[in-house]
Amino acid sequence: MNTQLLVQLLINGLIIGTLYGVVAMCFVLIYKSTQVVNFAQGEFLLIGAWVCWWLLTDFGLPFWIGFPVTLLFMVAFGVLLQVVVLRPLIGEPIISVIMVTIGLSIFFQAIMKWIFGTWAKPFPQVFATKAVNIGGLQVQTAYVMSVVISLIIMVGFAWFFKYSRMGLAMRATAFNQQVAQSLGISVKQVFAMAWAISAMVSALAGVVVGMVNGVSSALSFFGIKVFPAVILGGLDSIVGAIIGGLIVGVLENMAEFVDGQYLNFGNLYTVAPFYVLVIILMIKPYGLFGTQQIERV
């Protein structure tokens, strides 16, 4: 039993897990407030990371300018996407909404590959030191930053939904659109807002992953890994999304460990979360924290 490797993988899992948690949170935000299952969540990471990379390399902007510009761009992008594509589909059957986000996902994947190429490109050096030593383990600086940033985002979300006017409006809309509208909340604004926040925060996660692994189309796989996380946590629970993300992150690294040390299947890292997803759907379809839908005639 290789304890060193196990601990290293466990920490990796927790770090990746917080990132999954953040992306899952963005996914849940969109689902909760607009009832849209966003299969294009991974493309938000992809687009954000590529835009930031582009600003930093081709324009030579320093990180502290390029990064906020990226986030602003993603806010505009999220609003535009909601207004142009998703708004006409309000009230359409669920298959249409799912398919439109899938269509967007493969469209943006192809466009990004077209513009930036298929190969992973390294991010310009942002932090002076590449890795820091925590308790005898080498951890990438960007990952440490990502955990810090993720925690800040989570606290920010908690504050936003508990105390800010817009956040309360969004919660009201998620609870009941008609009642919210009759109380003077602009549901249109709330929908656009949800997409904007989600796109922005996902892009942030995308930039962090891009710093460590280089930017490539593999980033969009985050959007697929989000599904086990949100199903585990419950589709409409933000806390559940974070916990689900952590569990999936740790789980896939544990699968990697078991696979590498004992089983030698080779691909368990990728597939294990999906087995968990199917099992969860069978025994507890509303996840750990999701609200159970009761249908009355």
């Binding site: 299952v37 594509v85 006409p88 589909l89 359409e92 669920i94 298959i95 249409s96 799912i98 398919m99 439109v100 899938i102 269509g103 967007l104 996902s105 493969i106 469209f107 943006f108 994947q109 192809a110 466009i111 590959k113 077209w114 697929i224 599904f227 086990p228 199903i231 589709l235 299947f265 080779g266 691909n267 990728t270 597939v271 999906f274 087995y275 997803l277 199917v278 759907l281 069978m282 379809p285 249908e295 005639v297």
Partner: protein, 353 residues
Amino acid sequence: MAAAAFIPCGQFKTTYAKDTTIFPTPVSRAFAVLALVLLCLVPLVASRYQLNLAIQIGYYGIAALGLNILVGSTGQISLGHAAFFGFGAFTSAYLNNAYGIPVFFAIPLAGLITTAVGLVFGIPAGRIKGLYLAIATFASQFILEDFFARADWFTGGSAGSIASPFGLFGYEFSSDQSYFYVVLAYLVVMFLLGANLLRSRDGRAFVALRDHYLSAEVMGINLTKYRILSFGISSFYAGIGGALFGHYLGYVSAEAFTILLSIQFLGMIIIGGLGSVMGTLMGTAFMVLLPEVMEAGVQNLGGILPGMSDALAFIKQAAIGLAIVLFLIFEPDGLAHRWRMIKAYWKLYPFSY
């Protein structure tokens, strides 16, 4: 309602049987027979390239019809259709290679085995619906893809497996011309079966489940049974389509059955029209021809815009995504609806009222 508007005057339905025939008027039946006769003549005039496209439309169309029965008629969303399509292709090749079963029998057998697998996957799927089912089938797509890459004994692993050409009484249908007739025969049989299914008791039960499953259950339709049955039927079509695909290419490899193919299948039925048998074929033709049109366009533009031909693969993929999005926004009822509109327009031409 929509269908009733296109029956010419002088046609009266006096029995239920007459009201539910596949071809509502003698003229429409004559047109269908005529189209079939014309299709039989296609290999005599078409080029190899055109035949290849026609065969593609054939086998993808069969699989897409299965998906349309599941998604369009029963309302169960499946994002894992390509996996069943692939399973059919591998099964047929495996039966032929390992047990020496002639391809003629291996194709329907592959369909039946895929049905069995579909039924197994359908049992948990019978309990969930909508969004959750979409995500569950999404996961099963990845699980089956992983299985294809790993099960060396069955699929040949990453190397893939060889599928021998279709043969009957010692004659090999290895040329495109002859294989066209095999696919055409399967297409006609499967589409007639599909159209017949939708006007039978089972088909009406599917539609009832889609429209309001609680009411359907109250009226005595067994929810779980019909959901699983629909999954099985859809897998049967996928299996047959996949087997035809495998024996056409002569080589089956797991890379062909990715999530992108599943999305393309869904794109076909959405572009064609959910729940419409003829629409499925139109949507398939659209989806198969779209990349070819893009390729022709890029080749023509290649002289003007440098670098376009390098990006061909991406342009094709982007076009598929864009087509799905645009159809959902501007024509959610698909090409079948557009076709009905055109027919309605010409029926009253030039007086539109």
